[in-house]
């Protein structure tokens, strides 16, 4: 955090000054470790084993915050008697289908509960469409009715007991043997975390892409969520799970998605087979008669279609539902890059993104782009993804020859953040409006300008078309006010559309509760409703922090409805009283008959804590006065996830897909439901039980530096930053340096089945050799910012990785892999490919080879 989010880290230091204990768990000692009370080195890719050990510590010693757990989580809920745990089937949960390495999740459900997830119980479709990503704003649907609970938590089929059995093997000894974390250090973390949680105290958990970029990334975060829910750290001040995101508006680009499987506000992009009709589409979002706020999904969906297609969208034509394109499977960025290699994609837009450096398997990315008809790159600087045809690594190897590369490339300069106005959504869901300082130089334009005018030109060219396919683009509402010499469209008008308005009057809505399913409201992104309440740009508010409360509700605007801590109803006990005065936040005020506190209550403002829904009540009325998790269909935080996940209802330890060691817990080596692309140009390094894993004996971990930014386009071209971090390097321990003859400040190269890259060697004790599975295991760390352009140039770490994805969200595993390291520089020219071919031969990898995915007998039951 001190490295990558330094200004956010000031608050950690502030807390430390007030007595907080700071613990940093990381494969590499960083500037964060230097300021922490305790640094815990860990083997990259073993976080579930580590965190699972903490869950075991909590449950074995009954250190959970019992009153919170009973009231606000699903600990007491009874699960189907057909459920079998991964502990029973050697690393597979019940319902595994080996032929497609996917689950049928029927047996995971609450007792008596039918499966209602979009796509049904078969997780194969959900995986292809990254279905679980829908749940960033809300939980999966559940059928109406109460679920059987055992408030004593003794029923062997209640969630609490299932958790306890599942994690029982995650002992300190197993943590030590798996993660390389000493029992003493592990015990200290367990004690610090549990001691600092409860009525009087809360603990915050912070993560970044070190958790998401794994084949089990979602389950890492799930394990953290189990701990935080068991310890009562959710919805309370000083608690929570804080995702530190790495781009200025990456949260915004998820909420208002440029993602294949989502529409704004986490509505699903329709699937051809699952959502053939409007009713099927809406029905997949929430169950009939479901409890909670997501029950209004029909209003959000209808209002989005009204925002898109205006007058053309009517009840008679299902609000133009048939204009939406349909998914048939995986259309994610990695599938798309491989489709470019295969020649089915003709054109590609790159908008401030540099996949030649920033995406896994850089060579596949570049070879894909070299096989396009046309490419549009919009950026501030000339980046590697624009110049691959001229001077990329494949030009050096002879794989791309400019005279034979057909890709037509348009480079269009982009406006910078000070040359346009608009909102970023930062990592805590806070929208902040930026004012325009100056006009962009030369041909530089904003994306708003580019897309507005591109749409205008395309609509003009298609005007008068009688083709059915062109109705959607010609009926589109696309009439934003223009101003200035360059006819810039109004960003504020777009923000108003995002907020939503009454169709008849144009009056902005002030809350998503006002959205209607009868076509009378248009809402571009329902979770952003309120950002333009009363016709005022709430994201532009700038009341100085020093002149308002510490929650600072008048600086910017956060979704939903300017709430700063989500699920803050949980900061009070079931009766509505603060758990303690020290941790008071939102409370029920009987005199005023409403919830009060320094934040906007994340609850119906006047719902009494003792309210109990009448029989058959649905929607918000179905939530009791102590159902704190209002976007969940049962109002509870889920310790156990009965539906909505693809790789199991509970997290369990799998090895990274590329690992030098055998899974200590199961015959099943790695995530059996992972998204794999098994093809000759995407071979992964062999891992046990496959032979030849010793060819790549080291763990490779990748990260960022304070002085550079992601793929480097915005930092390697800046004089100060290029000077502060002037060269690509690799960090190795003194022990590994001795083992491989690596010299400090000399050259070394790293090798995988994809490529070899070279870097300057930094021999440092920042990397600790770990004892894992009875032997010493070395880890290697490299930054991933470098490429062939800019003021400082070097090889790209992402060239080392292949493509294998988390099944829930289709994010790649490139925070951990395996590699070889050798002293000296790598071969250049065609010799580089010969060198890699030799590694293929040594690893026994032929083009036909397929890595085994299921490594246990699925029919075995212990």
């Amino acid at each position: 955090m001190a490295e990558c989010h330094p200004v956010g880290f000031q608050w950690v230091m502030e807390a430390k000054d007030r007595g907080a204990t700071v613990i940093h768990v990381d494969p590499r000692f960083t500037r964060t470790s230097a300021l922490a009370d305790r640094y815990v080195p860990i083997r990259a890719g073993t976080d579930i084993a580590f965190l699972g050990g903490i869950v075991n510590y909590i449950l074995a010693n009954e250190l959970d915050f019992r009153e919170y757990v009973l009231a606000y989580t699903n600990a007491a809920t009874i699960i189907s008697e057909d459920f079998r745990d991964a502990e029973d089937i050697d690393g597979l949960f019940s319902g595994f289908k080996p032929d497609r390495h996917a689950y049928d999740s029927t047996t995971w459900q609450y007792e008596g509960q039918p499966t209602l997830t979009a796509g049904g119980a078969d997780t194969n479709n959900q995986r292809a469409t990254a279905g679980p990503l829908l749940h960033e704003s809300h939980g999966p649907p559940l059928a109406a009715g109460d679920h059987r609970r055992d408030e004593t938590l003794r029923d062997p089929r209640c969630v609490y007991q299932i958790l306890k059995r599942h994690f029982a093997r995650y002992t300190p000894e197993v943590v030590e043997a798996t993660c390389g974390v000493s029992r003493e250090a592990f015990q200290a973390v367990c004690e610090a975390w549990t001691r600092n949680s409860g009525r009087e105290r809360t603990t915050a958990l912070v993560y970044s892409v070190g958790w998401t970029q794994h084949s089990v990334g979602v389950q890492y975060i799930r394990t953290g969520a189990i701990i935080q829910a068991l310890l009562g750290n959710m919805g309370r001040p000083g608690g929570g799970i804080l995702a530190l995101r790495g781009h200025a508006s990456i949260q915004g680009s998820t909420d208002v998605p440029t993602l294949f499987n989502l529409l704004p506000g986490y509505l699903p992009m329709p699937h051809h087979a699952l959502h053939p009709t409007f009713d099927a589409w809406v029905g997949s979002m929430s169950a009939p008669d479901q409890k909670g706020f997501w029950a209004s999904a029909r209003a959000y969906a209808t209002s989005l279609l009204k925002a898109y297609w205006g007058d053309a969208a009517t009840a008679d034509n299902d609000y133009c539902y048939d204009y939406l394109p349909r998914m048939t499977g995986d259309h994610g960025t990695y599938e798309t890059a491989l489709s470019m290699i295969d020649g089915t994609v003709k054109g590609y837009f790159l908008l401030g993104q540099n996949p030649a450096v920033g995406s896994a398997h850089g060579r596949a990315q570049r070879l894909g782009m070299a096989n396009l008809d046309w490419l549009v790159v919009r950026d501030l600087f000339m980046i590697e993804s624009a110049t691959f045809w001229k001077d990329g690594p494949e030009v050096a190897t002879g794989e791309v020859v400019p005279e034979r590369c057909a890709t037509e490339v348009f480079f269009l300069p982009a406006a910078s953040h000070v040359e346009k106005e608009g909102t970023f959504t930062q990592t805590q869901r806070l929208l902040q409006w930026r004012e325009k300082a100056v006009e962009p130089p030369g041909d530089a334009r904003s994306e708003l300008w580019f897309f507005y005018h591109l749409g205008r030109i395309i609509r003009r060219k298609l005007a008068g078309s009688t083709q059915a396919r062109d109705r959607a683009i010609l009926d589109l509402t696309w009439d934003y006010p223009e101003s200035g010499a360059e006819s810039d469209p109004s960003a504020e008008a777009v923000l108003k559309e995002l907020n939503g308005y009454e169709v008849a009057t144009g009056k902005p809505l002030s809350t998503y509760v006002q959205a209607r399913d009868d076509g009378s409201t248009a809402v571009g992104c329902w979770i952003y409703t309120g950002v333009y309440a009363d016709g005022v740009n709430q994201a532009a508010r700038r009341k100085p922090g020093s002149e308002q409360s510490w929650v600072a509700l008048e600086w910017g605007w956060s979704w939903p409805l300017n709430r700063r801590i989500l699920y803050n109803r949980a900061s009070a006990d079931p009766q509505g009283r603060p758990w303690s005065e020290r941790k008071a936040y939102i409370r029920w005020d009987d005199k005023q008959g409403k919830w009060i506190g320094p934040d906007v209550p994340d609850f119906e403002p006047t719902k009494h804590p003792e309210y109990r829904p009448p029989e058959g009540a649905t929607g918000p009325a179905g939530l009791a006065g102590d159902d704190a998790f209002i976007m969940q269909a049962d109002g509870k935080a889920w310790l156990y996830v009965p539906s909505g996940l693809i790789d199991g209802p509970l997290p369990t330890h799998y090895e990274p897909v590329e690992s030098p060691i055998r899974n200590p817990l199961y015959g099943q080596q790695a995530n059996p439901a992972r998204r794999a692309y098994q093809r000759p140009d995407n071979q992964l390094n062999p891992s046990p039980p496959e032979a030849h894993s010793d060819v790549f004996p080291y763990v490779l971990a990748v990260g960022r530096l304070t002085e550079h930014h992601t793929a480097g386009g915005m930092s390697r071209n800046l004089r100060y930053l290029a000077e502060l971090q002037p060269a690509m390097f690799v960090e190795v321990s003194p022990e590994l340096a001795a083992e491989r003859g690596l010299e400090h400040l000399g050259w070394a190269h790293l090798v995988t089945l994809r490529s070899a890259i070279e870097a300057r060697v930094v021999v440092t004790e920042r990397i600790t050799p770990l004892r894992v599975g009875g032997r010493v295991l070395h880890q290697i760390w490299v930054p991933y910012h470098w490429g062939g352009q800019g003021l400082t140039r070097g090889d790209s770490a992402n060239d080392l990785f292949g493509i294998v994805l988390d099944p829930n969200v289709l994010i790649q595993e490139n925070k951990v892999g395996t590699c070889d390291i050798r002293p000296g520089r790598r071969p250049t020219g065609p010799a580089l490919r010969d060198y890699i071919a030799e590694y293929h031969r040594r690893a026994g990898v032929t083009p036909e080879r397929r890595s085994p995915i299921v490594t246990t007998d699925p029919h075995r039951e212990d």
Partner: protein
Amino acid sequence: MGVRTWLGSWPVYRQLTGSDPLGLGAAAKSARSKELTARTETADSVARSICPYCAVGCGQRVYVKDGQVTQIEGDPDSPISRGRLCPKGAASKNLVTSELRQQKVRYRRPYGTEWEDLDLATAMDMIADRVIAARDATWEDVDSDGRPLHRTLGFASLGGATLDNEENYLIKKLFTALGALQIENQARI
């Protein structure tokens, strides 16, 4: 020059006798630095902005004189950042004013070995033509069972995490209306 003035021009004297014993402020001032005026004081206008790098969302003040950005500083009013910026945010004036920034459209024709110039309006028109052609060539009306697909897998897009919400909204809206699905950004990565 009187003795007192002469002595007073000596920084160590001021450091020992004045109110700046650490020599970090007034005591270190030279005659030249005394006459300097901060760019932030002579700016024609100040825009309230947000740092474009990570997602912490630090406040920035962008100082402008004669239509040029002259300084970018942390915004002390921000309850998030309290005026601080990290090395990247502090270097962001160079991001905006760098001489390496591309200011002209560049075009590489198929099989070309060098960049060429191209007029922006012509480029926009050519890109529109290519989108329409790729869409026509790859359009899928229905699946093999006759269910609607209404889409093209003929062109794709990557990017958005560094862009504004309003921009992402228009990108998704336009591409969806064109039937394009493979619209992705860094959130997938």
